[in-house]
């Protein structure tokens, strides 16, 4: 028996990302996810730190040698920004969860505040570290 053809339904298509001009709100949104994934991966470094600390001075020296290297230092600066961004934008998300700040004007203002806040915090942390706060 031949199957009866289904009526043609004009179903909505998923929007193609390419046709959208990037906007502050959408860029910040995907950056929240990207930094979240980066933070999730980088957080595993914490396990290395704790296990090295438990294992002994040799293992701990290898840990500090890696994060003292150029690659390690660049990674730490990037991680600082990634964490600060996710922290600031996370607060923005928590406000949204209460139903506040969802209008476009406020979403843009809080978006700029997140960019400024995360950059300032990153610079402040590393300025403090480099000016001998860590010594």
């Amino acid at each position: 028996m031949a199957s009866t053809p289904r009526p043609e339904v004009q179903r909505p298509l998923s929007p193609h990302l390419q046709v959208y001009r990037p906007q502050l709100t959408s860029v910040l949104s995907i950056t929240h996810r990207a930094t979240g994934v980066a933070n999730a991966l980088l957080s595993l470094g914490l396990v290395w730190w704790l296990l090295a600390l438990m294992a002994g001075p040799g293992a701990y020296a290898r840990f500090t040698a890696f994060f003292g290297s150029v690659v390690g230092q660049v990674l730490l600066v990037a991680a600082t920004f990634s964490l600060m961004y996710h922290l600031c934008n996370g607060v923005r998300h928590l406000f949204w969860d209460t139903g506040k700040g969802l209008d476009i004007a406020t979403a843009y203002r809080s978006g700029y505040a997140v960019i400024a806040g995360s950059l300032l915090l990153t610079v402040a942390i590393w300025a403090y570290v480099l000016m001998g706060g860590a010594a």
Binding site: G36, S43, L44, V47, L50, L53, A61, L94
Partner: protein, 127 residues
């Protein structure tokens, strides 16, 4: 018109059968991390460049060890829940998706256990 059974609606557990549990846990861990992350960064800055014995003693301090334990629990739970959503949204192949769910679940559980073990060993050794 709703196609949903009134009882299912009343229970509010949705199609995933767990209601808002994932959403709520993600927020709870976020609020915990709002406080614990700055504390942890402060600890790292304070410890930067210190030698092994000093770092070990600071981590073994009961208050620091407790806060560190809370931090790793909240951090790895938040990371795992976040990665879960990203995998659900962007991985199109069901088999790959399930494999990644299993992998992230195992990796972050292992990370939590390893971290807590290390913290406890360090605290007990010093005590």
């Amino acid at each position: 018109m709703s196609l949903r059974n009134p009882l299912a609606r009343a229970r509010g557990h949705g199609s995933a059968k767990e209601g808002v549990h994932h959403w709520w846990m993600q927020r709870l861990s976020a609020i915990a991390l709002f406080f614990l992350l700055p504390w942890h960064i402060g600890l790292f800055i304070e410890l930067g460049g210190s030698d092994f014995q000093v770092v070990r003693a600071v981590v073994a301090d009961p208050l620091n060890a407790s806060l560190l334990a809370l931090f790793v629990i909240a951090l790895f739970q938040h990371a795992r829940l976040g990665l879960q959503v990203v995998i659900e949204d962007y991985v199109g192949t069901r088999a790959t998706e399930v494999a990644l769910h299993v992998l992230t679940r195992f990796v972050y559980l292992a990370a939590t256990v390893a971290s807590l073990l290390a913290i406890i060993v360090l605290a007990v050794r010093a005590g």
